[in-house]
Every structure is written in structure tokens, then in C-alpha cells.
């Protein structure tokens, strides 16, 4: 038991810069590999639907637009996305990627939707079955 055992620490910090950051005005640097929002590189997507199947939040939707032309549309519902990056892991051709955006709030959930319309790519996947 010592009275005022905290005082030296408190007074020392009185003359120090605050540890907190003025956040929305001063942005902090994100570490590399930060899991932000998922996005698609349409030129490498082979429409294997592994991402759609594995997405825990059912945020990925792949719609066939024209069967003959092999045109597809991928919609990522960012309002449902839980940013787990399982789609990136499931993708056999590295078509799904993560950016580092995290300030994606919006007044309307429809604005968070991201869409890509593309022709199916013909690439040999890295492995026969998508990795877990």
C-alpha cells in the first residue's frame, strides 16, 4: 500500500504526446495483408462458384446472363460481407482478392453492392479441387 503510487506516471504523461490519434482526421497506416473488402478480377474468373459456395454470409452471388456467350455477372453484397476472406482462399485461380478498404459505410445498403459482368475465363486452375 503506497499512497499516490500512480502520480509519477500521470505527471510524466502530462508532458508527453497523447497516445490516441485524431482518427477521422488523421488516418493510420494499415498493415499489409489487412482484410478489407473482397473484389473480383474478372479476367481470371472461371466461374467455378467455389466462393459462392463457401461464403459464410452468402454475400457472393453469380448469375448467368447469357449461357451461349458464357457471360456471367458477379454481385458482391458488401452489406452482408463479414470480411473473412474465405472467398480468396477458396478461389483456385486467384480471381478473388482483398483490398484494404474498411471505411465503407453508407446510408443505403444498395450502394454497397459491387457488380462485375464478364465472359468466363479459360484458365487451368492451380489444383483440381479448390483448397480449403
Amino acid at each position: 500500500m503506497r499512497i499516490g503510487v500512480f502520480i509519477p506516471e500521470l505527471v510524466r504523461h502530462l508532458f508527453k504526446k497523447p497516445a490516441t490519434v485524431d482518427y477521422p482526421f488523421i488516418k493510420q497506416e494499415l498493415p499489409p495483408g489487412f482484410r478489407g473488402s473482397p473484389y473480383l478480377k474478372p479476367e481470371t474468373c472461371i466461374v467455378c462458384r467455389a466462393c459462392e459456395r463457401d461464403c459464410p454470409a452468402e454475400a457472393i452471388e453469380i448469375i448467368s446472363i447469357n449461357e451461349a456467350e458464357k457471360r456471367f455477372k458477379m454481385i458482391i453484397h458488401n452489406d452482408r460481407c463479414i470480411h473473412c476472406a474465405q472467398c480468396v482462399d477458396s478461389c483456385p485461380t486467384d480471381a478473388m482478392n482483398m483490398d484494404t478498404k474498411f471505411e465503407i459505410s453508407d446510408y443505403d445498403r444498395h450502394n454497397l453492392k459491387m457488380e462485375w459482368e464478364y465472359v468466363r475465363a479459360v484458365i487451368k486452375p492451380k489444383s483440381a479441387e479448390p483448397k480449403s
Binding site: G4, F6, L10, V11, H13, L14, P18, A19
Partner: protein
């Protein structure tokens, strides 16, 4: 002319307007210090370095919806904030900031004004008690009971510790006490113990950590102020700030030699000395954790009161030695 002067005294300086501005500044100062002690930034964006934040908070609260509980005593519930603010503002008029003259004492500086001051500073406690009791909320009731329990703890040591410099100066008039210590600065050191006891008691009176028991938010929500909102809460908050200024002013007058006899220098030294006292209040707030209400009572009767009596003894001995 005299009427106009009185009006200026009451409304502009040192009355309501000065009090409002200075007490909000003091709140900012306290918040900023508290934040910097904790390695945080504190208010930053309203005005320069957030200096206008308390005023912004005040006006925001003024504009908020004002709710009176169905089962509360409505008249009492609504009148209490105004009463409380009036009481502490009156107490401010007694401080010898402008009525410093010893030869021509004005009507607010008289022999025994120290007692009136302490009386006026005791009343806010009852205002808090009534506020909690009249809102009929369970948490408020518990808070109100805690206010009174705490009062039994800190009031006697506070009176005793303020008594000792008065005894040494041989006067019950604050202006005279201050003048006495200005003339003999070394004697301030005699009252050092009483100064720290008074600091702790004032901290308890202002209900700040470690004595923020009546409105301990993690235990009893808002305590006495649980049911207060909008304008009434704004007035209560302002009242607490004014009370802090007045209490700091009282300590500065009684223990630190008051404010030299010139309105402008007096104002500057008033500000400096109150800020000095409030620095200690903030430090105590940052250093400690909240204690229990039974611990407050036992702490003040086991340690504070005996120490205050010891201080009285010292003062009496010193007084005999001097004369």
C-alpha cells in the same frame, strides 16, 4: 448609479456571465488535464483546442428533450436545478475577488462570511439529495442515500480544516484572512496539512473520483441524476462547475493568501490560484479509484478528522508562539 453597479455585479462580473464563462473554462481545463494525465487528447475540435466544448455541451443539453418522471414530485423536481445554481452563484458573490477592501467593506464582505460561505457550500449537497429523492427512481434513491451518508463523512473534516487558518488569522472574514496571509506568507506553510485535507473534502463535496459514489455510473447508473435530462441536467452540470470554481476560490482565499487588492490583478490571481487548486483536484481524480460509501465514512473519521484536529492543535500552538 449604485443600482446599475449592483446589476453589473450580479449579472456581468463577478455574477452570472463571468461565472458561466469561467466555469465552462474550468470544466474544459479539468477535462483536458484529466485526459492528458491519461495520455489522451481530451476535447479537441470545438474552438481552439476544444475550449468551447463545455459551452457546446451546455447548449446541446439545453436543446434536448426534457423529461419529468410521472411519479416524481414535479414542482420540486423542476425547481431544484435553478435553486442549486442560484445557491452556488450566491456563494461566488461572497468570495473576496472584487470586495477586497478592508476599510470599506461592501455588503457581501462582513465578519463571519466564511461561515455563510461554508453554509452555502453545504446546501448543494441537500439539493442533490432532494433531486435524487424527488425523482422516485430506485437508482436515484440509492444515490440520494449515498449523498447524505457521504455528507456525514467529509463535512466535519472540511469545517475543521477551514477553521484552522481562520483561527490563526483571528478573523471570520475571508478578506481579512487573505490579507493576514499576504502580510505573512510564511504562515501559509503552517496550514499545509489543512490544505490537503480540505482538498480531499472538496473533492468529496464535488462528488468526483474517488468520491463519485452518488452517481457512480457502473453501479447505480446516473445516481441522483438518473431521471434528469435536457435543461435541468444542463443546469445541474453548470451548477457543479460553478461549485468547483467557488470551492477552489474558497481554498485559494483561505489557504493561498487570496487575491491582491486591485480588481484586475485580483482577477488574474483569482484565475491562477483557482486553476492551481483545480490542478490538484484533477490529479486526485486521476490517481484514485472510486471507494465504497462505508469506506468514505471510515476514512474521513479515522484519518481526516483526527488530522484536522491535529492541525487545529498546531495552529493554536503557533498562534500562542507568535503572540
Amino acid at each position: 448609479m449604485a443600482t446599475l453597479k449592483t446589476f453589473i455585479y450580479l449579472i456581468v462580473y463577478p455574477g452570472l456571465l463571468f461565472l458561466f464563462i469561467y466555469s465552462t473554462f474550468v470544466e474544459w481545463y479539468d477535462r483536458k488535464l484529466y485526459a492528458r494525465f491519461q495520455n489522451r487528447m481530451g476535447p479537441t475540435h470545438t474552438g481552439k483546442a476544444g475550449i468551447l466544448q463545455p459551452i457546446a455541451d451546455f447548449f446541446k443539453l439545453m436543446a434536448k428533450e426534457d423529461i419529468t418522471p410521472e411519479r416524481a414530485d414535479k414542482g420540486l423536481f423542476s425547481a431544484l436545478p435553478a435553486f442549486g445554481l442560484a445557491i452556488v452563484s450566491t456563494a461566488m458573490l461572497l468570495l473576496p475577488v472584487w470586495n477586497y477592501s478592508l476599510e470599506k467593506p461592501s455588503f457581501t464582505s462582513f465578519n463571519g462570511d466564511l461561515i455563510v460561505m461554508l453554509y452555502l457550500l453545504s446546501l448543494p449537497t441537500f439539493i442533490f439529495f432532494l433531486a435524487g429523492w424527488s425523482s422516485t427512481n430506485l437508482f436515484s434513491t440509492v444515490g440520494a442515500a449515498r449523498v447524505l451518508t457521504m455528507l456525514f463523512g467529509y463535512e466535519v473534516p472540511l469545517f475543521l480544516s477551514v477553521l484552522s487558518p481562520a483561527i490563526l488569522a483571528g478573523s471570520w472574514r475571508m478578506a481579512e484572512i487573505a490579507a493576514f496571509y499576504r502580510a505573512r506568507p510564511l504562515l501559509i506553510l503552517v496550514n499545509l496539512l489543512a490544505f490537503f485535507i480540505a482538498l480531499i473534502c472538496i473533492q468529496a463535496k464535488l462528488e468526483r473520483t474517488p468520491f463519485d459514489i452518488p452517481h457512480a455510473e457502473t453501479e447505480i447508473v446516473g445516481g441522483t441524476f438518473t431521471e434528469y435530462s435536457g435543461k435541468k441536467l444542463a443546469l445541474f452540470r453548470l451548477m457543479m462547475d460553478v461549485e468547483m470554481v467557488v470551492a477552489a476560490g474558497l481554498l485559494a482565499t483561505v489557504f493561498l493568501g487570496g487575491f491582491p487588492a486591485n480588481p484586475w490583478i485580483g482577477l488574474v490571481s483569482f484565475i491562477l490560484k483557482t486553476l492551481f487548486v483545480i490542478f490538484f483536484l484533477s490529479l486526485i481524480r486521476a490517481t484514485t479509484s472510486r471507494i465504497r460509501v462505508d469506506q468514505v465514512v471510515s476514512f474521513s473519521w479515522k484519518y481526516l478528522a483526527p488530522l484536522a484536529v491535529l492541525q487545529l492543535l498546531i495552529v493554536i500552538l503557533v498562534k500562542g508562539f507568535i503572540s
